[in-house]
């Protein structure tokens, strides 16, 4: 009996449950020489806003113990730029492309969501309401329940594509946001985004990041992410995509057991560009070793 790694997230069929996370895999071509994109579960591209965004001044990342703080500031070529220069490359591959979108206002969220309605080669949208690197707007959307509902409903109204809502890492209210996303029509939720964080150069007495603070990702945050995914998965019926510090198959399986249907690998790709593919293989080995036929037999399998 073969082992079936395929999963479906709100209508997006993926050959395995291991995606690459937004912002850590560019728009595809950057890693295409190093890994076979067709072996990924899905590619989530770097966040796209209606207009091009320059992002934050350097330094934009700082390494910490087991983690990375980033304050890229959502630099991106904008909707048009991506449709023109980014998407065509990805159409050449046989891998679901999920476009991560964001805006500074509800209208901007609507605009960018609507902008992908006609676009060929887009399997779904992931709405980022949680980036800790936008000062004026976006951070708010993920931190205020009413605004959160407004933006998710607005985007839902503008797109018929599978809609994934990426939650803010709000420790105390994750179940509430998960249910709100489900209630507003999301097809899936993903979490966590990086966690607000900071580092200081004690010699210059200045922040190490151009933007003063940023978001922490990487193995350091895995136990926090796992807890939030477990809570979110128990709160909703729609599929959950687990993200946060996943670096090996065992990490990914923890998220599946906690209730995730799929996972996304972010920071780990920087050390090992093949991380996502090796993790998918490792999940297959685990299924075989445990006599399980399908990855869904793992999802939510935590015993208590």
């Amino acid at each position: 009996m073969g082992i079936d790694l395929s999963v479906e997230i709100g209508g997006i069929r993926m050959r395995n449950p291991v995606m690459v996370a937004s912002g850590t895999f560019g728009y595809g071509p950057e890693y295409a020489d190093l890994v076979d994109l067709n072996r990924l579960g899905a590619i989530v591209v770097k966040g796209i806003s209606p207009k091009p965004v320059m992002g934050n001044p350097p330094a934009r990342t700082v390494e910490t113990v087991g983690g990375l703080i980033n304050a890229i500031g959502l630099q991106n070529p904008g909707l048009e730029g991506f449709l023109r220069d980014g998407l065509p490359f990805l159409r050449g591959y046989n891998v679901p492309v999920i476009v991560n979108i964001w805006g500074r206002t509800v209208e901007e969220y609507e605009e960018v969501a609507a902008g992908f309605e006609g676009a060929e080669g887009v399997a779904g949208l992931e709405v980022n309401v949680s980036c800790p690197n936008i000062k004026e707007g976006s951070a708010l959307f993920g931190g205020d329940p009413a605004l959160f509902r407004r933006v998710v409903s607005a985007v839902r109204a503008k797109t018929r594509r599978p809609l994934i809502v990426k939650l803010a890492p709000d420790l105390s209210r994750v179940a509430e946001y998960a249910r709100a996303a489900e209630g507003c029509g999301a097809d899936a939720i993903s979490l966590i985004n990086s966690i607000p964080a900071m580092a200081i150069d004690i010699e210059t007495r200045r922040p190490r990041l151009g933007n003063v603070s940023g978001g922490l990702s990487g193995p350091a945050i895995k136990p926090i992410a796992l807890k939030m995914v477990w809570e979110a998965a128990r709160a909703v019926k729609i599929p959950v995509i687990g993200i946060g510090g996943i670096a090996c198959a065992a990490d990914a399986i923890e998220f599946l057991l906690a209730g995730a249907t799929a996972v996304a690998v972010g920071t780990a790709t920087f050390l090992n560009p093949a991380a996502a593919i090796e993790i998918a293989e490792g999940i297959g080995d685990y299924l075989a070793r445990h006599g399980l036929g399908h990855v869904r037999d793992v999802t939510g399998g935590l015993r208590s």
Partner: protein, 261 residues
């Protein structure tokens, strides 16, 4: 560009905290062009989430070497890696230097380990010119013999005067540039930002080209994470970010928007 598990063939001290690491990398080594770099995963650096970029000092016979300084925690751990161990490399990365000088006389300028980025260039350029090496102390002036063996005279300046002239490397360069050769000069430089800026300004003032290799913190090394950006003049009079790992690390001085760091 590819990823390769490279075996350590040799790992030895050069001088004052600098080491040379020679790696068997039959996939990457033959592809390296002058000024390109590799993104190296430091073995046993457990708490790290990033690789470290290093200029390829030399590449031949399926092996490549890097020169590095014990400058932080990553390199401190790298120092412990032993011959026979395996090191994961991604490379060759970046666009590197143009290996020609349009008939002008090539002038190499290096600060500290910056000379590592210039060594392959010194071999590849169609003609020999002159090299200027600077460093804090004599310990920071590396591989002069190897450049001289390739036919490049080397002028040296150290901040403490322990080797060559006392002062910055720009001093002997300025002195020499007072009488530039008739065919003009083309500058190639790698070193700290302050040095690069000084050279870029001289090049613009003198009407020469200066190809500057920038040293920026890097994340992915391949263009995906947007960590390593540099402000570059845009054709429309504004500016855009370019990725030092992908569009760089070498830029011509006129491209760069200099800012106070």
């Amino acid at each position: 560009m590819r990823m390769e598990n490279a075996q350590i063939l040799e790992h030895r001290d050069i001088q004052g905290g600098y080491k040379r690491l020679v790696l068997r990398a039959p996939g990457i080594a033959p592809e390296v062009r002058p000024g390109q770099f590799v993104h190296l995963r430091v073995p046993h650096l457990e708490a790290a989430v990033l690789r470290r970029p290093f200029s390829v000092f030399d590449a031949r016979d399926g092996a490549l070497s890097i020169l590095y300084k014990d400058a932080g925690h990553g390199t401190a751990v790298l120092k412990g890696a032993a011959p026979g161990e395996t090191v994961s490399l991604i490379g060759p990365l970046g666009r590197g230097f143009p290996a020609e000088c349009g008939g002008r006389m090539p002038v190499l300028v290096a600060g500290g380990y910056g000379m590592a980025a210039l060594h392959l260039l010194a071999r590849a350029l169609p003609r020999r010119g002159i090299a200027f090496f600077g460093g804090k102390t004599a310990d920071d002036v590396l591989c002069v013999d190897e450049f001289e063996a390739l036919g490049w005279p080397v002028r040296i300046a150290t901040e403490d005067g322990s080797l060559g002239e006392r002062g910055l490397v720009t001093a002997p360069l300025d002195e020499w540039m007072k009488k530039p050769p008739r065919e003009g000069v083309e500058l190639f430089a790698c070193g700290p930002m302050g040095m690069l800026r000084a050279i870029g300004e001289r090049a613009i003032a003198g009407g020469w080209k200066a190809w500057l290799s920038l040293d920026r913190h890097m994340g992915c090394g391949v263009g995906a994470c947007l960590t390593c950006v540099q402000k570059i003049h845009a054709p429309d009079g504004g500016w855009t970010w370019q990725r030092v790992c992908r569009e760089g690390p070498v830029f011509e001085s006129r491209e760069i928007v200099w800012e106070d760091e």
